[in-house]
Structure formats: structure tokens, C-alpha cells
Symmetry: C2
Subunit: 222 residues, 2 copies
């Protein structure tokens, strides 16, 4: 292969990547807003400005597009979730990590991406939440549940910080925390509406403060 051909191939790969990302960005937004079945490849094509046939060329099928959307940010998101946890582990060593620090370590990376890292991350986190209710019908075609190991690690740390709590009670408490975070990711405006605007689910600092103060009360030792 000549030098010219190599340059051409590089340019093509670059353009291919850009096209793929245009598709994924549009799909991410629409899937997260209207669900998998509420979104057609025509919608994605229209929003992305990329011809429909290219979606098939690059991904194969609608389900494959969803899978690609899910996969694109999965590793980065997992890393972001574990980073503060590991930092705390290092900081506290053998000592247990305080409960409110654990709550923040869990909630902040998620809510931060949802609220202050741009539309891409906002759509991605919303989609992840949305998929919890759609996944039953989507699997096994699409692999969605990628964060179970992360939850396991968080549970282990909560356990260490609350040695006297009984196991089921602790599981329920962490589940309630997860439910609340997941619900916020859906952007249902439930708390904003309920409080007639007094509470702002779009305010990261407020969200983290409220999560910490409420759930650390529930997660105290008896």
C-alpha cells in the first residue's frame, strides 16, 4: 500500500468514526427520552442527519445501535464510579469510611454526569435509568446490566462501616438510595412539581446535600 492510500484510509476511518458518533449521539438522546420502542431509526436518522442505511452499515440493526450506545460510555462510567470509592479506601485504610462519604461517593459521580457534564452524559445516565424498566423485554438481545459489580463493592464498604447492621436491612437501605438516584435520572420532575418549585432536582449541590443528610440518617447504626 502506498503512502497516499494510507492517508486516504486514515481520513476514511476518521470520517467513519464521526458518522458513528453522530448516530450514537442522536440515538442516546432519543432512546433516553422515548424509550427503545418509542424511537425509530428514522427518528435517529433525522436527528443525526445521517442516512438511515448508514445506521445499518455501521451497526447492523436497531438493537445493535442501542448496544453500542450503552457500551460507548460504560467503562468510563464504571471508572468514574469507582474512583472516589478507591480514593476513600486509600485515605481511610483499615478504618471504615464514614457513611455520608460513601453516599456521596456513590451518588456524586452519577448525578454529576447527569447534571453538569453536558447533554451526552445527561442522556446516557437517563437512558441507563430508563433501561431498568425496559430491560426485561430487551434482554437477551441487549446486554445492559453492567454495574452489578460496582454495587457489590459499595455494599461491601457500607458493610464495613456498619458492622452491627443486619444484612437485609442494609440491602434495603442501599436499594432505597439507588431507587431515589435512578428516579432523579429519569427527569420526571416529581420533586419539583410536588414542591411547586421549592426543590430543584437540577441543582447538583442541593441534590447531593439532601441525599447525604437524608440517607445517612437512615443508615445509622441502631
Amino acid at each position: 500500500m502506498g503512502a497516499n492510500a494510507q492517508i486516504k484510509e486514515r481520513a476514511n476511518q476518521q470520517r467513519s468514526l464521526e458518522t458513528k458518533n453522530k448516530i450514537l449521539n442522536a440515538a442516546e438522546e432519543l432512546f433516553s427520552l422515548h424509550g427503545f420502542y418509542g424511537t425509530s431509526l428514522r427518528d435517529i436518522s433525522a436527528l443525526s442527519g445521517v442516512r438511515m442505511s448508514l445506521c445499518y452499515y455501521h451497526f447492523g440493526s436497531k438493537e445493535d445501535v442501542l448496544q453500542a450506545v450503552v457500551d460507548r460510555r460504560a467503562d468510563a462510567h464504571q471508572q468514574a464510579l469507582l474512583e472516589p470509592l478507591n480514593a476513600y479506601k486509600e485515605q481511610f485504610g483499615d478504618q471504615p469510611i464514614p457513611v455520608d462519604a460513601l453516599i456521596e461517593a456513590y451518588a456524586r459521580p452519577i448525578m454529576e454526569r447527569h447534571l453538569s457534564c453536558g447533554n451526552g452524559w445527561r442522556n446516557y445516565t437517563r437512558l441507563m435509568a430508563h433501561l431498568y424498566s425496559e430491560s426485561a423485554h430487551l434482554e437477551p438481545k441487549v446486554q445492559v446490566h453492567k454495574y452489578d459489580p460496582v454495587i457489590k463493592q459499595f455494599f461491601a464498604e457500607f458493610r464495613r462501616s456498619m458492622p452491627h447492621a443486619n444484612e437485609p436491612e442494609l440491602h434495603w437501605a442501599i436499594y432505597f438510595l439507588r431507587s431515589s438516584v435512578i428516579n432523579m435520572l429519569l427527569d420526571t420532575q416529581l420533586v419539583d412539581d410536588q414542591s411547586a418549585g421549592l426543590c430543584d432536582s437540577g441543582d447538583l449541590a442541593q441534590v447531593i446535600t439532601r441525599l447525604k443528610s437524608f440517607f445517612s440518617k437512615g443508615l445509622q447504626e441502631p
Copy 2:
């Protein structure tokens, strides 16, 4: 109109009602499992055993079927939610109702219908939860949010029971409670999976106990 004609008309109305309910039952189940867009009228027709054209005759459109499903149990559900609250109001009179009683008054009617009143109610409550994430795309064609006044009444009672709590904090706490209940209605098995079966989200007594003990801790006066 002769007596014979009247009898015939009665029988027809009866049959008509049965057909409608067959359709609504199937729609309730499928919408609640796969969402509005994940369900076709063909699916509903197949599951109910009623011809597709009859769905149009009785309701008009797919959206109208959803609306009818939502409406069918709405009043009964509202009543069921307010009944224990009003009973407590009567019982305690001017005294504030204890917080854990309020939590139970809110959660039990919902979770009871979800877990121990048969498949119809189970599907209905699951659908209501599901619609929180789909409603943005469905409105204004379908009117879904029918429980805001109920929440208002509950908030007022929580307020009375916790006169020193600040308003936003109270709103957030009640919102976290609602999130957890809503998530359980979706039957995602999150807590069952997370705890490897140690916790059972299908056990009504367990669910109520855990909700009360956890959320009453978070809802204490400072």
C-alpha cells in the same frame, strides 16, 4: 320499545361491557410489561381473544385504550389511598399522626394492591409507575397524573407531624419515599438481585416493615 327489545338491549350492554373488560385487562398487562410503544393492538387482541376491530369500535384508538385502562381503576385507587389517611385523621383528631403511621398509610394501599390483590391490580400499579417515565412523550394525548392531590394531602399531614422540619427537606424526604415505592412497582427485582435473594420485594409484610423503619429514621425531627 317492547319488553323483548329491552331485554335484548340489556344483554347487549352486558356483553359489550365484558368485551371491553377483556380488552382492558389484556392492555393493562401488556402496557405495564412492555410500555405503550412496546405493545401493539395486535398483541392486545391476541391476548384478550377479542378481534382488533372491536378495540377500535369500543375505544377509538390505541391511546384511548390506554386512557381507559388508566381511568378504570383511578377512583378506586384514590379512595384506597385516602381511606387509611382519613381513618388516622379521625383517630388522632387535633394531635399529629405519628410519622411511621403516615408512611404506612401511604405505602400499604399501593403495595397491597401491587402484591396481594390479584394480577389486575398488580398490572395497574406497575403501569402507573411505568407511565412516570413514558408520560412526557404521551401527554397531552393521555391524561395520567391523577394522584397529585393525594400527595398534597399526605404532605400536609407530614407537615403537621413535623412542624419544625424545613419545607424543602420534608419535600425531598417524601420524594425519596415515593421513588422507592415507584421503583418497587416496576418489579425490577433490584433489591432481590442485589441481595442474592436475601431480600424479597414480593413479600408485603417485609416491604412495609422496611419502608417504615428506614424512612421514619430519615423523617425524624432534627
